[in-house]
Amino acid sequence: MRYFFLVVALVCSGPAGAQQWEDRQQFGDPDAPTLLRVLSSTDTALFAPVLNDFVDTVPSVSIDYHVAATAEIDQVVRTSSASFDVVISSAMDLQFKLANDGFAARVDGFEQPEWAQWRSSLFAFTSEPATIVVNREAFAGAAVPRTRQDLIRALRDRPDSFRARVGTYDVRQSGLGYLFATQDARTSETFWRLMEVMGNLDAQLYCCSGAMIEDVASGKIAVAYNVLGSYAMARDDLVDQIEVILPQDFQTIMMRTVLVSSGTPNPEGAATFVRHLLQRGQALSTLSATSLPFLDFTRPPAEQSTIALEPALLTYLDRLKSQRFLAEWEDAIIQ
């Protein structure tokens, strides 16, 4: 029996160990008796205050924090659910599918409004809009677009100044990018027209919001579409170079979600972490200790704009649907 566990442990640690993490950091006392392995798509810088707050409150636990892309997170959890205790991701659809497919354990013992959780196993804790980030210099003298329509017009009016200087997510790589794109497409036809216009301008495709923000700030590109607002607004240092725009025609707001892996050997510790995250997050963000926009559970989200935690999230993960969507998207953006 013991050998069996050894083999299982080796097999499980195999893919996790071989993984190339975007980032990996330890929080808390390295000699603490319990180690929680957190797999997250959130940049360490943004999440560190929450993690530090946790290890301060519960000194007996230390955290091994791994950062990976949303699609990778999904892969890792599906192949070895025992290798992580807590999974955090911005790709609501992938997280939802994980929970629906039984990869999330129930966490009971606290009140979470209906709209912010699913089956007491998937919990939303932030509210983050998709934004348009523009380089201030590029729009000097011209009106900054407030809607997608404005943006399309601006791009069409000055195609030469925007050629190869517009960027958005590569939805084939980024789970969050795919989620934003599909939700946009669901809401309005404008999305497709914008993609076509961007495609005509030889759009740059990015894996992540951070890179887009950097490039807009540096002036490499002038406009980035569907950038994670929370990341952009966190960059106080770039306030002179970039402007973050919440589109006024319609917004797409994502909720970052957390789940306890069903394979975790330490469900109690993982549940404690989740409870702490949900209960303290709100307080931390009012203290401006973190720039992650934590959910205010007392206020239900605006009807349309926030993506709901519901089975329909499975729709665009369907093989046929995503094939079709990606084909259309490629048609539009890759010229």
């Binding site: 669901r186 729709t315 093989r319």
Partner: protein, 454 residues
């Protein structure tokens, strides 16, 4: 008499068992039926949504430029959102091969084009699976698309638990109400029966009059036969008393005639053996007439004791009068009376009965005491009035003293004396009718002592 009555299960209990048992069965049936019915409705609700989901996926299937496209709407899965966040699984097959969705979820059989809902398991959880299929025509021929959508049943079971609770609550309420009602019904039904029983129990022992109060029609036959039975009883009692009195009376008169003839004949006959025969004849006649007289008295006593009418009377005066009247008989035997009595002793009783009783007792003393003796009659007025009659005879035969009061019982000392054995019986019946006692004793200094206390 009542304790010997064999009673089967009480009517009230039987009624209660039937009513409450019926109510319980009914409540259970209602519960099961309503739950079954609502379960079906609730299940139908889920099935309908699953059906809509399946058909919206199937409807999205089109052949465009020779390739199959199923661009099903967001709503196809969105509509499956439930309050309990039920898990959702689906699978899309083309000609039996999985196109997309969850592999282990097979459709109900691709040849079935009707929508089918069934309960099954998927990934080790119980689910409701709805599936349907559709034929599409391509340039190469016909292809069959089948779709299965499955959903866990958490919301449904929650609804059902709620329904079960409510229905159980109503069932229990119904049962409690029905139970209260059945108690009320049974006591209302039994009440007239109890009233009848009470009214009959409250009657005096001699009241054999028919029941007059109205009774429920179901009880009418019973009460009617009870009334006839009592009527017959009353009549036959009266008849037998009348008969005894009449018979005794009829016997006594001719006996008196016969006796006077025999006496007269005795004066005239000389021969000793004839005289002896005549004497024993006279004696037999005396016995018979005494018996007839006592029987008549006994019948009268029984009747009056049953319909006892008490009146205030002076016991001392009654005995004084009695002693006076018996004085001549006593003188014939040289016996003297010694009456010790207070001025007045007031009691409530039937004077005729009391007189008869004391006459029998004094008569006994006269009969069984020797000549030239004294009979003491002692009246006292203590907690209860008491009369003691003492003689100076041989006393009661000790071996028989307990049986002498029974009917027709005579002691061994009675040989040669005329009597019927009813005297003490009469005295005791009178004492008992008045709620008193009769005690026979032999005195230490000799002689019988009878104590009659009221």
């Amino acid at each position: 008499m009542t304790s010997a009555l064999r009673s089967s299960t009480s009517l009230r209990r039987r009624l209660n068992i039937v009513l409450i048992g019926g109510a319980a069965v009914l409540a259970l049936l209602i519960f099961l039926f309503v739950r079954h019915y609502t379960t079906q409705i609730a299940q139908q609700g889920q099935d309908n949504i699953l059906k809509a989901s399946v058909s919206s996926i199937l409807d999205a299937a089109v052949i465009r430029n020779g390739t199959l496209e199923i661009d099903f709407p967001y709503a196809a899965l969105s509509m499956l959102n439930t309050a309990s966040d039920d898990r959702v699984f689906y699978a899309i097959y083309q000609d039996g091969a999985l196109l997309s969705g969850y592999e282990a979820l097979p459709p109900a059989g691709s040849e079935s084009f009707n929508t089918i809902s069934r309960t099954g398991r998927f990934n080790d959880v119980p689910v409701r699976i709805t599936s349907a299929a559709r034929r599409l025509v391509t340039s190469d021929g016909v292809t069959v698309i089948s779709v299965a959508v499955a959903q866990t049943q958490d919301a449904l079971s929650l609804t059902l638990a709620g329904i079960s609770r409510t229905v159980a609550f109503f069932g229990a309420g119904f049962f409690v109400m029905a139970t209260a009602l059945s108690f009320w019904a049974s006591s209302a039904t039994i009440a007239p029966l109890n009233r009848l029983a009470q009214s009959i129990t409250r009657r005096g022992p001699q009241d054999l009059s028919p029941v007059q109060k109205p009774v429920p029609s179901e009880m009418a036959p019973l009460v009617a036969s009870l009334n006839t039975l009592m009527g017959r009883l009353d009549q036959s009692l009266r008849q037998s008393e009348d008969f005894i009195a009449e018979a005794a009376h009829r016997v006594r008169t001719p006996l008196a005639t016969v006796r006077s003839h025999a006496e007269a004949t005795l004066q005239r006959v000389e021969r000793e053996e004839n005289r002896k025969a005549l004497r024993s004849m006279v004696r037999a006649i005396d016995e018979s007439s005494r018996a007839a007289g006592q029987l008549l008295d006994h019948a009268m006593i029984t009747f009056r004791a049953d319909h006892l009418e008490r009146q205030s009377l002076d016991l001392a005066a009654l005995l004084r009068d009695l002693v006076d009247r018996l004085e001549p008989v006593a003188e014939m035997k040289d016996i003297s009376f010694k009456l010790l009595a207070p001025e007045e002793v007031h009691v409530l009783g039937d004077p005729i009965l009391l007189q008869n009783a004391f006459r029998n007792l004094i008569d006994n003393a006269l009969k069984y005491a020797p000549a030239e003796s004294v009979i003491e009659v002692h009246v006292t007025n203590g907690a209860s009035a008491c009369v003691e009659i003492r003689d100076q005879g041989a006393g009661f035969p000790p071996a028989q003293i307990d049986e002498l009061v029974t009917r027709f019982a005579r002691g061994e000392n009675a040989d040669g004396t005329i009597g019927s054995g009813l005297g003490l019986t009469i005295a005791q019946d009178v004492a008992v009718a008045h709620g008193g006692t009769l005690v026979l004793q032999n005195r230490e200094e000799g002689g019988a002592c009878v104590t009659f206390s009221l």
